[in-house]
């Protein structure tokens, strides 16, 4: 649950971070784009302003130059007033930009003519018209174009005006005073400039489709603007005053008329526009280009929209990917957890399975007659192999089994089989009956049709008698003087046929004999080229005298070396039993009649230890002498007691311990018999202990508690006292 929330938070923060990063990038890009576009707009506007102004100035210059060039002619003609019209005609004819021209005399200068102003202008058809401005209606001396140069004493441009009664058009006039020889202003020479071309020139400036240009006169009168009804009718201030939010624009008007160039943003009806403006020198006009912000940033906004859309799509994709990622994470985690759980459970299952079989070796450290080792190497975490053993009533019960199949199902059957073995062998000593009972039990509940090959043995540790029963398992190897497979009835594996009667077989294990039980995981172990380890290699691996542990390690190593890197194909189970009976035990009543039992015991001991049977006779003799001595001397006649004899083979010597609970009696204390004495001197007694000393290598007496303990040691490999009974 916690994890879930954490994952969601992580995912969310990832989305947020991605969004912020995207937005930041977009903002930065937007900012720089805007800046760039703004700069570009400024550049375009300024260059247009510049070029338009240059073109205006070009015309202005032409007109001014024409007037200036004609002033001296006019000056010269002052004395001949009638020729002044000629000057005007030349001005119009020679300068296509000049729409009309006049030389207006200062009133009263000419005595003959108080008002005199011949005017030449070009008709719409291009024909020259000759007019006079000296009409009372026109009253030229009051016109600005006349008064201003007279006042200033130098050339100047008039405010634009519609010349009614003159040029009959919107025009502006450049006027220069014409001085007489005395230097007084005698007349004013003018050249009219039609503003039609100006409208065309300025109005045609289109930086952006929605942008427009304006031209204001010195007084703020609108000379050129897209709304024709305003042209010459209104001043900018008047127009602005009529607007709803006009107040905000008063600053603008002031800036436009300041005679400087620059740019200024303008808010009008919620639309921001940028106004670029520059003065047209000498005329006092101000040209401006108004570009709505939308025009400048239109592309940017479109791009911004596209970018935003792309970002949203990107974010949506990130969210989708995150969701699917989180889901798959969850799935993987769930799978991981499942796998971990299964692995954990298999691990536990393996531990449980392993805890079912004896794992501590040596299993019976107090016993010297058994050397055992066993191992299970499952091919998977759990396997279907098993071994088991235990000792009951001096009998070793042991088994090896192999459940068909591998893995968990096999391991369960293995557990059942092992339990069944323990149950059936708890009160039964016959391997045949154990296996028969196990088969019935396993067949009865075998619904999964799994079967078990099984070998069960019961070894009587006292005598080496070995009874066994095979249920379809590989015959164990028996290691005696030679190595050979134990002859076995094949029989059916367990769990196949209920009611089957399993036959039991018998063998005898002697001292130093060994049994090697295995599952087919050994013989069928395959190397990389699918060769099997086989019985020949197994047999070869069993040669040599080794401890059970070393035997198993050796076999395991050989298999491992053979298999190499190939994967283990089947469970491998090995059980090695080395029978090393340390000797026998015999208890006799203190009755001479028990002696034949002693003889039989000695004979068995020699056989059990696989000693040279030429020893039998002399050992028999020594033991008989020792035991008879005890019976006759330790126990006073008529008393009842026992004599026990233990035989043990250790350190290359055979040791017999004769123990009795009679009165203290030390046979070794008796005097040595003189065997060289003659017949008469020869004592009847004393021969027994003499023979014992002759035959055995070491004879020791000890009184231990209330017991006499006589130890007779015969070192093997010596010929001392060896007799031949044959």
């Amino acid at each position: 649950m916690n994890r879930k929330i954490l994952t969601s938070i992580k995912a969310l923060s990832l989305v947020v971070v991605a969004a912020v990063a995207l937005e930041a990038t977009a903002l930065v890009q937007y900012y720089y784009s805007q800046k760039g576009m703004r700069e570009e707009a400024s550049m375009r506007a300024e260059s247009q302003l510049e070029s338009t102004r240059n073109r205006i100035m070009d015309v202005i210059d032409q007109v001014e130059a024409a007037v200036r060039n004609s002033v001296w002619v006019a000056q010269w003609c002052l004395d001949y007033p009638d020729s002044l019209q000629r000057v005007c005609q030349r001005m119009v004819e020679d300068n296509p930009v000049v729409a009309g021209s006049t030389v207006a005399m200062v009133p009263g200068y000419l005595p003959s003519k108080p008002l005199f102003s011949p005017y030449v202008c070009r008709s719409e058809e291009g024909v020259l018209k000759f007019l006079s401005l000296a009409t009372p209606e026109y009253d030229y001396p009051s016109q600005e174009w006349f008064t201003k140069p007279v006042e200033l004493g130098e050339g100047c441009w008039s405010e634009p005006y519609v010349d009614e009664g003159g040029g009959e058009m919107l025009m502006t006039t450049f006027s220069m005073p014409v001085r007489d020889r005395s230097g007084a202003v005698a007349a004013v020479l003018t050249a009219d400039l039609s503003l039609d071309w100006l409208t065309e020139l300025v109005g045609g400036v289109k930086v952006y489709p929605q942008a427009f240009s304006m031209l204001l006169s010195r007084s703020g009168r609108i000379m050129v603007c897209p709304v024709e009804t305003l042209v010459m009718r209104k001043t900018a201030s008047e127009v602005i005053a009529g607007m709803d939010d006009g107040e905000a624009l008063t600053g603008l008007t002031r800036a436009l008329l300041s005679g400087e160039s620059g740019n200024i943003p303008m808010q009008y009806q919620g639309v921001t526009s940028y106004v670029y403006f520059a003065p047209v020198e000498r005329t006092g006009w101000s040209m401006s280009i108004v570009i709505p912000e939308n025009e400048i940033y239109g592309g940017l906004k479109r791009m911004g929209t596209v970018v935003l859309l792309l970002q949203l799509i990107g974010l949506a994709m990130i969210v989708l990917m995150l969701r699917s990622f989180i889901r798959s994470q969850k799935r993987y985690r769930a799978l991981d957890q499942r796998r971990e759980r299964i692995e954990g459970e298999l691990h536990i299952a393996n531990s449980i399975q392993m805890s079912m079989v004896p794992l501590v070796f040596p299993p019976f450290p107090e016993r010297h007659d058994l050397d055992m080792a066993a191992t299970i190497v499952p091919a998977k975490e759990v396997g279907g192999d098993l071994y088991d053993f235990f000792i009951r009533d001096e009998k070793l019960f042991f088994c090896v089994g192999d459940v068909s199949g591998k893995g968990v199902p096999a391991s369960l059957v293995m557990a059942v089989t092992r339990t069944s073995f323990r149950n059936m062998s708890a009160h039964e000593e016959s391997p045949g009956r154990i296996v028969t009972a196990m088969n019935n039990s396993l067949s009865a509940m075998n619904e999964s049709s799994m079967f078990v090959t099984f070998f069960c043995g019961v070894l009587d540790l006292a005598g080496g008698e070995f009874r066994y029963c095979n249920a379809g398992h590989n015959p164990p190897m028996m290691l005696t003087d030679a190595i050979r497979a134990l002859p076995v009835e094949p029989n059916l594996p367990l769990g196949i046929l209920q009611g089957m009667d399993y036959k039991e077989q018998q063998a005898v294990l002697r001292y130093d004999d060994a049994l090697f039980l295995y599952t087919d995981g050994l013989t069928e172990a395959e190397n990389a080229v699918h060769e099997q380890f086989g019985e020949a290699r197994m047999e070869a691996a069993l040669h040599g005298r080794k401890s059970a542990h070393d035997h198993l390690e050796n076999v395991k190593q050989q298999v491992a070396a053979f298999v190499g890197d190939a994967p283990q194909s089947d469970d491998l189970t090995l059980l090695f039993i080395h029978y090393l009976p340390v000797g026998g035990h015999l208890t006799l009543h203190n009755d001479i009649g028990e002696i034949p039992r002693l003889s039989a015991f000695v004979e068995e001991t020699v056989q059990a230890f696989k000693l040279d049977d030429t020893l039998t006779c002399s050992l028999n003799l020594a033991l008989e002498e020792a035991v008879v001595n005890v019976m006759q001397y330790a126990y006073p006649q008529g008393t009842v007691g026992t004599v026990s004899i233990d035989a043990a083979l250790r350190d290359g010597a055979l040791a017999f311990t004769v123990t009795d609970s009679g009165r203290p009696f030390d046979p070794t204390a008796s005097k040595e018999v003189d065997i060289s004495a003659g017949v008469e001197e020869r004592p009847i007694g004393g021969l027994g202990i003499h023979l014992v000393r002759q035959i055995m290598d070491d004879v020791r007496y000890e009184r231990v508690g209330k017991k006499n303990v006589l130890t007779l040691v015969k070192r093997l490999g010596t010929t001392k006292g060896r007799t031949n009974c044959k």
Partner: protein, 101 residues
């Protein structure tokens, strides 16, 4: 254990068959004692079928030998096995008895 006694030309032959261990010696002691009464003559102990002898058996042989020595007779041990010969050797009996193959 079985002891068969036969007489022929003043020679008493006792054929011993089996194992002359302690119980067997006790068993055949009366027969051997009877034989000791004829120790003035020649007694042959035929050991051809004797497979084993312990000190009790040796004691019976020695008693017979002592009786013969007392009565001036003679005890001949015939056909002893290697095993019994080695017991005789260990006990010095080879010197006490006349051994015949």
């Amino acid at each position: 254990m079985e002891v068969k006694i036969s007489r022929e030309n003043n020679v008493v032959t006792a054929s011993l068959t089996g194992r002359l261990d302690t119980p067997a010696s006790q068993e055949v002691a009366p027969q051997m004692n009877e034989l000791a009464e004829e120790a003035g003559g020649t007694i042959v102990l035929d050991c051809k079928e004797l497979s084993y002898i312990s000190s009790s058996g040796l004691r019976l042989f020695l008693m017979l030998r002592k009786a013969a020595a007392e009565k001036g007779g003679k005890v001949i041990v015939r056909s002893i096995s290697g095993e019994i010969r080695s017991v005789f050797l260990m006990t010095g009996f080879l010197n006490l008895f006349e051994i015949e193959a």
